[in-house]
């Protein structure tokens, strides 16, 4: 056996307890999702026959379509909002030195550290005051604002890697700053903006406390709240539907995230120490 093969066996063996623990909930989720209704409560591992129908039934029973639409709406709009204000801010932070820059950076850091839960009562009053309670637009604003710190950090750390010479060259060629920005800078920054947008989207997609507090009627529920409402405070829980819904709500986002997480780390690592 080659040394590398031996090493591989050893490492996989060392990692296996953790891997089992990580994969266990995914297995539970998937297996329960394909169990027929009459087998769900029996503690067997495999269903006698996979009930793929569960996914179709779940859609109607759990009001999935509506919640899915709300989640897409909130995640897209809050991402657009966060990026619309963060791109200019990140551009300024990476391109200019100005008085108050340090203050702005500390301010962002504090907002990043502050989880919405600590402010939840104040946020609730704010939303009531604005007359937006039970309106998905309220959480668009809250998510957008809480994402600003993260998006500015990420974008700034990537923007700093784009050489300033390129824009200056465009200025010298007679392009206005606006034109230089659109023609030279933005195309180069596009990958960074895409990655940041996806993470901002996933943050909003997964958020729980704010949605739980601000959304009171089922029509406005986002996916986490909708699925939570199928479980919390109920005597009978249709677990096969809940797990099917969880599966559909989770897996696409998980795949995108797993694929992109190394960009997140690079951005955070640069942003955290700058």
């Amino acid at each position: 056996m080659s040394p590398k093969l031996k090493k591989s066996f050893l490492y996989w063996a060392l990692l296996s307890p953790l891997i089992v623990l990580i994969l266990f909930p995914f297995a539970v989720m998937f297996i329960t999702a394909i169990k027929p209704a009459n087998e769900v409560l029996s503690p067997t591992w495999w269903p006698r026959e996979p009930a793929w129908r569960n996914f179709i039934d779940m859609w109607a029973v759990t009001n999935f379509g509506n919640a899915l639409w709300n989640s897409v709406y909130v995640s897209v709009l809050s991402t657009v909002l966060a990026l619309a204000v963060s791109i200019p801010a990140a551009y300024a932070m990476s391109r200019f030195r100005f008085a108050g820059q340090g203050f702005f950076r500390q301010f962002l850091l504090v907002t990043q550290m502050l989880s919405p839960i600590v402010l939840v009562i104040g946020l609730f009053r704010l939303v009531v005051w604005l007359g937006l309670l039970d309106n998905v637009n309220s959480i668009v604003f809250v998510y957008g604002a809480f994402n600003v710190a993260f998006t500015v950090w990420m974008l700034q750390s990537y923007f700093s890697t784009i050489p300033k010479d390129l824009e200056e060259a465009a200025w010298i060629e007679g392009a206005s700053p606006a034109k230089a920005l659109v023609m030279v800078f933005l195309p180069l920054a596009l990958p960074a903006m895409t990655v940041t947008a996806i993470f901002s989207f996933i943050n909003a997609w997964n958020e729980f406390v704010i949605a739980l507090t601000m959304l009171r009627r089922q029509e406005s529920y986002t996916l986490p709240i909708q699925i939570f409402s199928l479980v919390a405070g109920r005597y009978t829980v249709e677990w096969h539907h809940v797990m099917a819904a969880t599966f559909v709500a989770t897996i696409p986002v998980a795949i995108i995230f797993a694929w992109l997480q190394r960009y997140l780390v690079r951005g955070l690592a640069i942003g955290a120490v700058k």
């Binding site: 590398k4 090493k7 996989w12 060392l14 990692l15 891997i19 623990l21 990580i22 909930p25 297995a27 539970v28 329960t32 769900v40 029996s42 503690p43 591992w45 204000v85 963060s86 200019p88 300024a92 100005f98 702005f104 500390q106 301010f107 850091l109 504090v110 907002t111 550290m113 502050l114 989880s115 839960i117 600590v118 939840v120 009562i121 104040g122 009053r125 704010l126 604003f141 604002a145 809480f146 600003v148 700053p177 997964n206 729980f208 507090t213 986490p224 699925i227 939570f228 677990w239 797990m243 969880t246 709500a249 989770t250 986002v253 998980a254 997480q261 997140l264 780390v265 955070l268 690592a269």
Partner: protein
């Protein structure tokens, strides 16, 4: 320099600053005001009452229980995560067959919303039909079903375990970033000098990883301290508030019991605590930048 709104940094940061400041400072101001007033459950202020709300929070036995549990919760998850993540990161930093797959699996919990993870665990931990019990049965580890979430003595450790599991991916990635920044020739030099593996780890890896360890500890302290969905979606702090930590207790105070004054006072105190953590983080990050 050509004059244009695009070259004025203040104009460029203004929208972001205003949005974040509005959504954060206005609620903060509200919390401060409510916490110093007598307030009814509908949020109407009925006059200044000094620090009475703060006193009420501190004399509430449920608060003291939740405070103590928050210490255990935060400490156990942060330390547990550290103990798991250091070896995992060191393994994932080595070259072996299937490393890419191993990395993706280890990162997986990060990608799933905590709410969903907690709901799946709640089902897996179900006393009669849960797959954890049937799995342990199958392995011959237990012969009676355990009602995992019915008592704090089993529920809270399981919640901590879930907490560690979802914190490992972030921490491991930070450590991987740190490990890849250590130059290989240091290890080669140590090998030539005849250092043992343990010596190499203690004398080279650990000291060079220290800034990354520090930053991950402080960041995890903040995240775990704020973590709400795991406990809320598994037990809602129950049975009888026995698995409450500060954030779940705060939510109950405000939205279940209607004690807005006390809830606001608690929020303000938690804000101050988080601010202290943040200052700690900044000083650590700055020290790292200087060295």
């Amino acid at each position: 320099m050509i004059r244009s709104p695009l070259t004025n940094p203040y104009l460029l940061i203004l929208p972001g600053f205003l949005l974040a400041a509005f959504i954060i400072l206005w609620p903060l101001y509200q919390l401060g005001t409510i916490s110093l007033n007598d307030v009814n459950r509908f949020g109407q202020l009925r006059g200044f009452n000094g620090v009475e709300n703060y006193v009420a929070v501190f004399t509430d036995p449920d608060f003291l229980g939740a405070l103590w549990r928050t210490f255990i919760w935060t400490g156990a998850i942060v330390i547990g995560t550290l103990v798991v993540s250091v070896p995992v990161a060191m393994i994932l930093n080595e070259d072996f067959y299937g490393r890419a797959i191993a990395r993706v699996i280890i990162m997986l919990p990060w990608a799933v919303s905590l709410t969903m993870t907690a709901i799946v665990w709640r089902w897996a931990l179900n006393g009669e039909s849960g797959m954890l019990n049937s799995g342990l049965h199958g392995l011959g580890l237990i012969d009676q079903n355990i009602q995992w979430l019915a008592r704090a003595s089993t529920a809270f450790p399981v919640q901590i375990m879930i907490g560690i599991l979802v914190t490992v991916p972030f921490t491991t990635t930070i450590f991987l970033g740190g490990l890849s920044s250590i130059p290989d020739d240091l290890y080669e030099a140590a090998k030539l000098e005849g250092a043992s593996r343990w010596q190499t780890f203690r004398e080279i890896t650990l000291p060079l990883m220290k800034p990354f360890l520090n930053i991950s500890i402080v960041l995890n302290m903040i995240y775990v301290f704020n973590s709400f969905p795991i406990i809320w979606a598994t037990t809602q702090g129950g049975p009888a508030n026995s698995t409450d930590i500060l954030v779940t207790y705060l939510y109950k105070l405000g939205f279940r019991f209607g004690k807005l004054g006390e809830a606001s006072a608690l929020s303000v105190m938690m804000f101050v605590l988080l601010l202290a953590f943040t200052v700690l983080y900044v000083s650590l990050a700055m020290r790292r930048e200087r060295t």
